[in-house]
Symmetry: C2
Subunit: 344 residues, 2 copies
């Protein structure tokens, strides 16, 4: 039995900010008869993430360093995290009807080789939470926030924590974990609506709209008169420079993403004299090194969700056709929270 | 009894590269009758170090972060590490004739308050090594190299190590420790004479003259086809950017100094995508955090010196009047090894 499978493909390499026309919707036919060690999944939600842009460039250090960030091939489906339902299975561990999360793709159906699938592939089982949560707060975004904050930032209670792109998929969760842990948390975001959300809904101690600030160094001095102990960086560029100036002694900067530098050649030039004299550490961070903490993360985060101590912030568009605009929107700061596209 | 005391003072704040005319020789009279808890020292050698330039600027993060790097006052003596002989003592722990090392100054005589002196002040006692060694390989330069390399870089045998300013006071010792430890070591320096010295005398695996390279990124790729595990940075700027591109996964960069940025506004803008995807750490480092390792360092390094496994490289000028040119020369790369001025 064959079905038509619509997917989103990369039309050409992208160097600056992405345009919708860099992507195209294509269609192919798919046999719904999996081999052994294959499952066929009908996708319900797919994740739209900034790092995917690096995979679409002609040259990026992401291509050679991790499998999940390898270069996207032209004309082929763009791989992405997703949640889907098994419609046919050649692997006895998965049954028709099972809900799974893993590396799927921006497509209606995905064929997964279960023998070569990475640690992200798993069954959701019956869950008290909506399936979409397994892409955000209970998925890669949550695990990135959890391990990046607790394991890389190594926070102490009372630390002053600054989070950039604080309304983004990872940033909002980092801020929530930091508040739960007893830190003082300030976030920055790109609209007043987001700033209100951070302060009113997510109970950040403070937040500001970086687009309304003329001098980020002074802004941070105003929000952190006692200095910053931890900067969770999702942005890079000018904001990283301003943070370095405002870091405290032995301050820790975890570089999780540098979205401003994905589309822009203006790189951050932090003052290295500050780095030396304040013994600042700047640590690059990727989730793949922390997969072993998945169970710990899930158990902690589910508990917080159950007790309404943490919230899932989702921004969901509908239909495969909305993927290109959803992706382009990430770099304009359109999304509030985890950006997903619902396919069914 | 009074003596005349010549000293080097800062005439005006320095913003770019220093000129000899930024410093002046002054003279004052000094009573050779110390109070209790004071010693008066006739200085034999004083240390000429790049970090002192940061202390001469109008604004630098060094001023507020550590006592030893606080701002130099105009018209007053420039503090500096030195070795001297006690000529009068009000503290029973020090006797006339004792050789001491500590924070003295660019001056003929220094008055030291022993009750408020920092951990650097100590008697040398009878030593098998020349007194000047206690400012270089057995002093702050050696301890910086030792703790920066062993404790901050955390080397593994076989690591590929790059050292910049490798003929400088700290760099040459870092390279020698790294060779002793079993690393592959390449250094860069600013003249062919220095490069020969690194390869022929100090047994670096390789070395190059950065002034003869047109593209530092490719140069490092040539010297490290298998990538860099540890970069001990004394230079900053363009070289730090080139190193980041050539770092291996989980590479460690220890920022000990950024001499190119002391005199130049061109700051380093390392590619943060490399930092993320290769999980690079960039760690600022100051010696003051590692003073507790002094005994361990001394015992190890004396042993290596005795067995000719490590060499002291000194560059000694004579007379207080030569201090301004010696200091200016640091930023032109004139010195080969530890720069000292011998006063007597």
């Amino acid at each position: 039995m064959e079905v038509q499978n619509k997917f989103v493909a990369l039309k050409n390499r992208i160097e600056g900010a992405p345009l919708e026309s860099d992507l195209e919707i294509k269609e192919t036919s798919l046999k719904r008869s999996p081999n052994e060690a294959q499952i066929i999944v009908k996708n319900l939600y797919v994740s739209i993430d900034p790092y995917q842009l690096n995979r679409m460039k002609s040259l990026c250090s992401s291509h050679s360093t991790t499998k999940n960030a390898s270069q996207v091939k032209l004309g082929q489906v763009v791989a992405a995290h997703g949640v889907g339902r098994v419609v046919a299975s050649g692997d006895e561990r998965f049954k028709k009807g099972d809900l799974v999360v893993g590396h799927l793709g921006w497509e209606e159906y995905s064929v997964i080789n279960t023998s070569t699938a990475d640690g992200f592939l798993r069954k959701i089982g019956s869950s008290e939470f909506p399936p979409s949560y397994y892409l955000g707060i209970l998925g890669i975004s949550g695990l990135t926030a959890y391990t990046g904050f607790f394991n890389v930032c190594k926070p102490k209670k009372g630390d002053f924590v600054f989070v950039s792109a604080a309304c983004g998929s990872v940033g909002n969760i980092v801020g929530q974990y930091a508040k739960l842990f007893g830190c003082y948390v300030v976030g920055c975001a790109g609209s007043n609506h987001k700033v209100d959300h951070l302060k009113d809904e997510l109970r950040f101690d403070d937040a500001f709209n970086y687009k309304e600030e003329t001098d980020l160094e002074s802004s941070l001095k105003r929000y952190f008169p006692q200095g910053i102990d931890i900067y969770f960086d999702n942005v890079g560029g000018e904001l990283l420079e301003a943070a370095v100036v405002n870091m405290n002694m032995f301050g820790r900067i975890v570089v999780c993403g540098v979205i401003s530098e994905y589309t822009n050649k203006r790189r951050s030039a932090p003052n290295m004299l500050d780095v030396i004299y304040k013994r600042i550490s700047i640590q690059g961070f990727l989730l793949v090194d922390y997969m072993h903490l998945f169970e710990e993360f899930m158990s902690f985060t589910c508990e917080q969700l159950r007790n309404n101590k943490i919230q899932a912030i989702e921004d969901i568009s509908k239909g495969l056709e909305s993927i290109p605009s959803a992706f382009v929107g990430l770099f304009n700061g359109s999304n509030v929270g985890k950006k997903l596209v619902q396919l069914e």
